[in-house]
């Protein structure tokens, strides 16, 4: 309960234990356990349909897990058992933010409004649950000014400051992706779950994203959980990788280890010939190195 910086041996930010999710007879996730730490980027990778997004949906309360325990050890507020919390209270109380595979902005609202809405709960309290706000009390106006300052900070970080008053729906795709990340950061999360943030980005945007994520990791009290298909992103920035296949965890480890893990390679390439693999991996490696060199 006490505010503390992380001493050695303290529990990791997120502990997923024996997570299982069934839809009818279908097992989308079977007995998956992993951890995610503060100031680290943990990537969840796996072929299509491996259950990655389902893990996110369980973590952020969109699905109730069939079994398992999801503990968030909030650095300031203590532990939360996420599987017991009602969906919207997870971002509200446990400070877990997420983005979506198909960007979910508020398209008819301005960029700035998108970010202000992320601070809804803070502003609601400041507006005396609307009452003080209606009366136009100073307290609310101050809180709103602070909220706008936070928005300005994040808009600057993602390079969208000049577009602040445009409709979010009018932004280019890459901008929308970054706006969604900025919006998630505006709830001041301790855990940020990013669902394929690099999907649909061009190489330059992708490199910028890597840099953004790395700086978020280093500058804020936050752990990042990342679902990604783009291996240059995954290998380039993640500190730890969890590999899922058909709803099961088949491997975990640091990027270098995962890259050469035969089970992982097999899961990705199916029944491909063994001798094809090294070239594929080598190409990957070369690309990753190049990406890192840029960084």
């Amino acid at each position: 309960m006490n505010p503390r910086s992380e001493p050695l041996g303290s529990p990791p930010l997120l502990q997923v234990e024996h997570l299982t999710m069934r839809f009818g007879g279908l097992v989308a996730i079977g007995d998956v356990s992993f951890e995610a730490a503060n100031h680290k980027i943990t990537a969840i990778i796996g072929p299509n349909g491996a259950g990655k997004t389902t893990v996110f949906n369980c973590l952020t309360g969109f699905y109730k897990p069939s079994e398992g325990r999801l503990t968030l050890n909030h650095p300031r507020k203590g532990p939360f058992l996420l599987e017991r919390m009602e969906g919207f209270t997870i971002p509200q109380k446990a400070d877990v933010a997420r983005t979506f595979q198909n960007v979910r902005l508020f398209p008819a609202m301005s960029v700035l409004e998108n970010l202000i809405i992320a601070q809804h709960n803070v502003l609601m309290r400041a507006s005396g649950y609307t009452l003080w706000g209606l009366l136009g009390l100073k307290r609310f106006r101050q809180a709103e000014a602070e909220a706008v300052d936070l928005c300005r900070y994040w808009l600057d970080r993602v390079g969208l400051l000049p577009r602040a008053d445009d409709d979010a729906g009018n932004l280019a795709y890459g901008d929308q992706r970054r706006l969604e990340i900025a919006r998630a950061m505006c709830i001041r999360p301790v855990l940020l779950c990013l669902d394929e943030p690099a999907a649909g980005l061009n190489p330059r945007e992708s490199a910028e994203l890597n840099q953004l994520l790395l700086s978020i990791r280093d500058e804020h009290e936050i752990g990042i959980l990342l679902i990604e298909h783009d291996m240059s992103v995954v290998m380039g920035i993640s500190d730890y990788i969890v590999v899922l296949d058909y709803g099961r965890k088949i491997a975990e480890g640091v990027p270098a280890a995962i890259r050469n893990d035969p089970t992982v390679i097999k899961a990705y390439l199916g029944e491909a010939e063994e001798d094809e693999l090294p070239e594929e991996v080598a190409a990957d490696l070369a690309r990753d190195r190049a990406a890192q060199a840029q960084v």
Partner: protein, 442 residues
């Protein structure tokens, strides 16, 4: 013009198309327009009206022909289309328009043509505008399609009537009570159903509206059923009656102010009453839109899942919208009761709900001025043209369809951000065609 347009088209294809439309029209018209059931001594008999069928088929043929040609012409003509710019230009002219509109509404009773009928229409229009603004919170901002809004209007009207009659309370005491009761109903009804989405919510609210009406019809002891409640006290001007003869030891409105008695005084008073109520509703909505809860409503309308991921409680947020919307319907309902002096369940049918929803959606969801424009088009228009009375609802239904096809987002669908980082770009006031710089797509 038509010549050049037709050049690119195959005349045979056009004729075939128009012929097909005419054939469909024939099949539609024959049974219902061509054959009329009329009562005769031995039961029903049939009266034929082949001329009607001929007219219908002919006009559909010509109409379809013209439509094809017109469309083709529109396609050929390059350049910006007029209707795309309406919203953009109005946005700039908005403050001026709003001020002018309010000014006109304020001076209306003193204009030379403002006779009893004009004022009555004015009151009717303002009532619908107020209802539209109230429902705009629910449908326009929060995106909850409420097809039972009239139920809250009814609750307000009956609350006022019953409170005023049984407890002898004045209008000014009853008004907030009626609003509170309607809001309570909104809360209680909204609580279980607001997790439903879209069409399901629409049909459930419709069901609630009908249930309330059926209860009003059948709970005779309380509501006097289909007979309705009459003798509802009229409002007073701070205690001053609008009667012709003053009570023995007091004043009425006209004696107090030393005016000659005129039955118009009460009408004018009612007009200003509803004007003020409506403007309060408007001011409230404009203000709450800039508060966190208002922004959350709009966000919910845009994407509920994203809202949940940001820690917004969807149910509570929707409930506040539903409850507040109901409250304004309650206010409007008590005004309705005091204006009419008589209410019965007949005034609160589904069609009323449909009209109010239509006003909001046709106006452009969430657009306050859109509500005004839509009310003028849908209510004042048919009301002013007396000859149309018989066709009023027919025209009304047809207008709903046509406006939706023409502008699926409503007549004046635009919104301004509730908060800005950069000052709003200064646009040229007026109705030019040029798009402001940096607005993106051509």
């Amino acid at each position: 013009m038509a010549e050049t347009a037709a050049k690119g088209l195959d005349p045979v294809a056009i004729l075939k198309e128009a012929g097909l439309a005419a054939f469909v029209a024939l099949m539609l018209a024959v049974p219902l327009a061509g054959l009329e059931t009329v009562s005769a001594p031995g039961g029903l008999t049939i009266n034929t009206r082949w001329d009607w069928v001929a007219i219908a088929v002919g006009s559909v043929f010509v109409g379809r022909l013209l439509l094809i040609l017109w469309r083709e012409q529109g396609r050929r003509r390059s350049g910006p289309r007029l209707d795309l710019d309406i919203g953009e230009n109005l946005r700039t002219a908005m403050p001026v328009l709003a001020a002018a509109g309010i000014a006109f509404a304020v001076v209306l009773p003193f204009l030379p043509f403002a006779d009893r009928r004009v004022l009555d229409i004015g009151i009717l229009v303002m009532t619908y505008i107020m209802l539209g603004w109230g429902l705009n919170i629910v449908v326009g901002l929060a995106g909850l399609l409420d097809l039972g809004y009239v139920a809250f209007y009814a609750v307000g009207a009956y609350s006022y009537a019953l409170l005023a009659i049984h407890f002898d309370l004045s209008f000014w005491v009853c008004l907030p009570l009626a609003g509170a009761l309607a809001a309570l109903f909104g809360y209680l009804l909204g609580f279980p159903v607001l997790r439903l989405r879209g069409d399901y919510l629409a049909i459930v609210t419709l069901g609630f509206g009908e249930i309330i009406r059926i209860i009003l019809i059948n709970w005779y002891d309380l509501t006097r059923g289909p007979d309705g409640i009459s003798g509802i006290p009229r409002p007073t001007f701070f205690g001053l009656d609008f009667a012709r003869s003053p009570p023995p030891d007091g004043h009425t409105f006209h004696t107090f102010f030393g005016l000659d008695f005129s039955p118009l005084h009460r009408i004018i008073f009612l007009y200003y009453l509803i004007l003020v109520l409506a403007l309060i509703t408007n001011a409230f909505t404009l203000r709450i839109r800039r508060l966190p809860v208002g922004r959350a409503w709009e966000a919910l309308r845009e994407d509920e899942i994203a809202c949940r991921s940001l820690g917004i409680n969807p149910r509570n947020t929707k409930l506040t919208a539903f409850t507040l919307g109901a409250m304004f319907a309650g206010f409007a309902g008590s005004f309705f009761a005091t204006r009419q002096g008589f209410i019965s369940p007949e005034s609160f049918t589904f069609i009323e709900s449909a009209i109010i929803v239509a006003i909001v959606v046709l106006g452009g969801m969430g657009s306050q001025i859109g509500v005004v424009v839509a009310t003028l088009v849908l209510i004042a228009g048919p009301e002013l043209i007396r000859e149309l009375q018989e066709f009023r609802m027919l025209a009304f239904g047809g207008l709903m369809v046509m406006i939706m096809i023409w502008r699926p987002r409503g007549l004046l669908a635009f919104r301004d951000p509730t908060v800005r980082l950069h000052p709003a770009p200064r646009r040229r006031l007026g109705f030019g065609r040029r798009k402001p710089a940096g607005s993106g797509a051509p």
